[in-house]
């Protein structure tokens, strides 16, 4: 069942359709929020609020955009709001260390340490970006959302998406340069 059909059923009061939508989008939404916040527990709470907000407002969803686009918008609004209220980023790095699974089944200790350090640096750099820059990077580079959809999610023109994305990437590069640019070949 496609998102549009689930939404229609949900709008008719068939709440089981919402569960389908939640299960379909929970991972992407959770990862987006998690990368925006850098804190697993915060991400879990905010992600739950994202879906509850969607459930409350589904009556206002007119179907002009994809449900995923609409859900991304809600998620980024919640995440940006929560991000502003959070304090220092330092504790988030610890949370990231404990939360992230290791994809390599048999990594060497040096690989583990290196990848862990890379992830921490990248997440720290993302957290230091302006929320607008982080949003566009995460949508495009993490979620692999097209320019057009990014424009719809952020409600900005595609040209603005391009310029903002280029500015955000350069900002991220400048923050990661002290760690990666010199020994980029090792990454």
């Amino acid at each position: 069942m496609r998102d549009a059909e689930c939404v229609r059923r949900l709008q008719r009061g068939e709440t089981d359709a919402f569960e389908t939508l939640v299960r379909r989008h929970e991972k992407r939404i959770f990862n987006l929020v998690y990368r925006m916040l850098g804190d697993y527990e915060e991400a879990a709470e905010v992600s739950q609020e994202v879906f509850l907000s969607a459930f409350r407002a589904v009556g206002q969803f007119r179907g002009d955009a994809n449900f995923s686009t609409w859900l991304y918008r809600i998620a980024l609004n919640h995440a940006s709001t929560r991000r502003k209220t959070l304090g220092t980023r330092q504790h988030r790095l610890l949370a990231i260390d404990n939360a992230e699974p290791l994809s390599d089944p048999q990594p060497s200790p040096s690989d583990i340490l290196e990848k862990k350090e890379i992830r921490e640096r990248v997440q720290a750099a993302l957290n230091q970006l302006d929320p607008e820059d982080a949003e566009v990077i995460l949508l495009r580079d993490l979620q692999d959302v097209s320019y057009d959809e990014v424009a719809r999610v952020l409600k900005i023109p595609v040209g603005t998406v391009k310029s903002r994305l280029h500015r955000a990437r350069r900002a991220l590069k400048s923050r990661l340069a002290p760690y990666f640019c010199a020994g980029r070949k090792a990454v």
């Binding site: 709440t15 939640v22 929970e26 959770f30 879990a44 009556g59 990248v122």
Partner: protein, 355 residues
């Protein structure tokens, strides 16, 4: 293509978003420019690092918790549609009930005006009690007017109301030139227009404003100078403030105090009073002499129910010698034949004749 143009398009180039022509131009520039190529490599590293961030699974049972909260805490879509309707109805009903209650309260507050237009004006504008005057002290007219002037105005109005047949209504209109009096007089006149449809006005209720001090069971609680406690005329001190403020009595008595005598003699004389009372009027008219001004000591006012007029007269005769009894205005001698009517009696008390 220069470096600036190439670098501004590097993100699109790395994302494969450039059209073939621009893509080829950037590619050619990067091959020729190591600076721009290093910049492109740096951006590509960043893109790769973000893209390689490992996906993180949400907490176990995330979807179930969301559904539980959505279904248990949050209303369903149908509830969200119906709830505002159900909520607005009680609000409208509450508003209607509130309006109804307010209307009843307002009606109750104003109903005395509708039921008895005379009552509030009499109690406030003409003859308020002391408490009422204090309570209404915020009234600008009353607060500004001197007490004597106010009392005199009250008495004039009381006089007009006590004598409905007198031409006081039109007179009051004429004398209402002063702005301060106009509203009050107009109010009284307007109320007097209702007189034909109303029960006869009781003089003491109009003039005294002290109705609440008279118990119904014993209307005669005044008159310390007489054995029978007839109700002393109200506002007696105020009536003596000015001759203009004197109301027109129904009956005027001229009596003369007797000289001090032993108590037994007084009592025997009082016993004789009843026998004298029958022919008192004629007797007094023949016996009385016009009191000399210097012999007039005081004027007392009494309010007496018409049916008790004879009793009053007997008791008066027991206490003093009645020199004259003079019905005034439209009153007739048969004063006691006016039920439900209080008589305003003026008693001129003369000093005892010197022997």
């Amino acid at each position: 293509m220069n470096c600036h143009e190439a670098q501004t398009q590097l993100s699109e180039y790395l994302d494969g978003e450039l059209d073939p022509l621009r893509n080829k131009s950037v590619e050619s520039h990067l091959l020729a420019c190591p600076v721009c190529r290093a910049e492109a490599d740096g951006l590509a590293d960043c893109i790769r690092q973000v893209a390689q961030l490992p996906p993180v699974d949400p907490p176990p049972g995330f979807a179930q918790r969301v559904m539980a909260r959505a279904l248990e805490v949050e209303p369903s879509l149908w509830q969200k549609i119906i709830a505002p309707l159900r909520f607005s109805a009680p609000i409208q009903a509450s508003a209607a009930v509130l309006i109804a209650v307010l209307a009843v309260l307002i009606y109750r507050n104003e109903s005395p005006l509708k039921n008895d237009p005379l009552a509030p004006s009499m109690s406030t504008a003409i003859a308020p009690s002391t408490d009422q005057r204090n309570a209404n002290s915020e009234t600008p007219l009353r607060a500004a007017a001197p007490k004597a002037k106010l009392d005199s105005r009250r008495l004039r109005l009381a006089e007009k109301l006590a004598t409905p047949s007198a031409p006081a209504i039109s007179a009051s209109k004429d004398t209402a030139a002063q702005a301060a009096d106009k509203a009050e007089v107009a109010s009284a006149v307007g109320e007097l227009k209702d007189l034909p449809h109303r029960a006869p006005i009781q003089a003491q209720e109009i003039a005294t404003g002290s109705e609440n001090v008279r118990p119904d069971s014993n209307p005669f609680v005044f008159g310390p100078a007489f054995s029978a406690p007839f109700r002393a005329g109200p506002f007696a001190p105020e009536r003596m403030l000015s001759p203009l403020s004197e109301p027109s009595a129904d009956v005027e008595f001229v009596v003369r105090r007797r000289e001090s005598e032993p108590k037994k003699a007084a009592e025997s004389r009082r016993a004789e009073a009843d026998s004298r009372a029958a022919g008192a009027l004629a007797k007094r008219s023949s016996e009385s002499t016009t009191p000399q001004p210097n012999s007039l000591t005081e004027v007392k006012w009494f309010t007496v129910p018409a049916e008790r007029y004879d009793q009053f007269k007997k008791e008066l005769a027991a206490e003093a010698t009645i020199d004259s009894e003079r019905p005034i205005g439209s009153m007739t001698n048969d004063l006691s034949a006016r039920p439900n009517r209080d008589l305003l009696i003026k008693v001129i008390v003369l000093t005892p004749l010197e022997r």
